[in-house]
């Protein structure tokens, strides 16, 4: 199955067909998520309209964690099975995940100020999300820090796998420690504890940002495949020139 997916030509052929569908689903879910989130969902009985920040904050946080998990899995495939597309997938995921973790921190801060009276606290959830952001940055910096690309990819992959330990801390920090951040209200035992009218835009926005990420990851992987082809062509023409002059 993975060998089947590893073929770059097959990857290009399949994604060529599904990319427009992914973009279409992204646009539809984003527009409807924004509509329901801003116009149709009720105010919170305590937070009032400030609760609407949830529709951009929670999907960003969810994506930041999920993309990190995908990044680490892709790194395992790269290190263990030398999967040809795995390194390209990891390096395509990293900037998108970093952006979502940065958005989580900023929108969380914008939500925290009116609700908690402060932009930032060194609370377990906030701190572990900041650490996740640093893991993303570390991956990006390390993968570009070496002269030989392969050395950077290997070192960055090891860091990404080590960073997996932070994911359960992000998720369960609100249960393990007393935090200012509220406990989980969607993925928890007993089902979601928020109103259906709030759950709908939240799910739509999660879908929108997930499909958006998928679209960008596919696009970035394809770009990297083309760049690799260009490098090979350049190398070939350089070698031909050397052999002619030699």
């Amino acid at each position: 199955m993975f060998d089947w997916l590893a073929n770059p030509n097959r990857f290009n052929r399949i994604t060529e067909k599904i990319q427009p569908c992914i973009l279409f689903i992204t646009i539809i879910t984003l527009i409807s998520g924004l509509y329901f989130g801003l116009f149709d969902s009720p105010k919170d009985y305590q937070q009032g309209d400030a609760v609407r920040i949830m529709y951009v904050h929670v999907p960003s946080a969810w994506l930041a964690s999920f993309l990190y998990f995908s990044l680490a899995i892709s790194c395992v495939f790269y290190l263990v099975w030398k999967h040809p597309l795995a390194d390209l997938v990891s390096s395509s995921i990293a900037p998108i995940g970093a952006l979502f973790s940065a958005l989580t921190l900023v929108t969380g801060s914008l939500w925290g100020k009116p609700m908690w009276g402060t932009w930032w606290v060194w609370d377990a959830r906030l701190t572990s999300m900041l650490v996740l952001f640093f893991f993303y940055l570390g991956y990006i910096l390390l993968s570009n820090a070496f002269e030989r690309k392969i050395d950077g990819s290997k070192t960055a992959s090891v860091l990404a796998i080590v960073g997996l330990i932070n994911l359960p801390i992000v998720k369960f920090s609100v249960d393990w420690w007393h935090t200012l951040h509220q406990p989980a209200s969607i993925i928890k035992i007993g089902g979601p504890s928020i109103d259906d009218k709030m759950l709908l835009p939240l799910i739509l926005m999660i879908f929108a940002l997930s499909f958006f990420s998928l679209y960008l990851i596919v696009l970035n992987v394809k770009t990297k495949l083309i760049e690799k082809k260009c490098e090979a062509l350049l190398l070939k023409s350089n070698l031909e020139e050397i052999s002619k002059t030699g």
Partner: protein
């Protein structure tokens, strides 16, 4: 659209920047990735032409 929608019970200075920042970042990332892709395709075309 009435004025109260924009004011958001006085939380507008927190809510609107959250949405604008999120959508702007996603838009910029989309434009950047699309441009990179077009640039790579153009380069490949040029190299293939030179080779032929």
């Amino acid at each position: 659209m009435n004025e109260s929608f924009w004011i958001m019970q006085g939380y507008e200075i927190y809510i609107w920047p959250s949405y604008v920042l999120t959508l702007l970042s996603l838009g910029l990332l989309f434009v950047h990735s699309t441009k990179q892709s077009q640039k790579a395709k153009k380069l490949l075309k040029q190299l293939s032409k030179t080779k032929n």
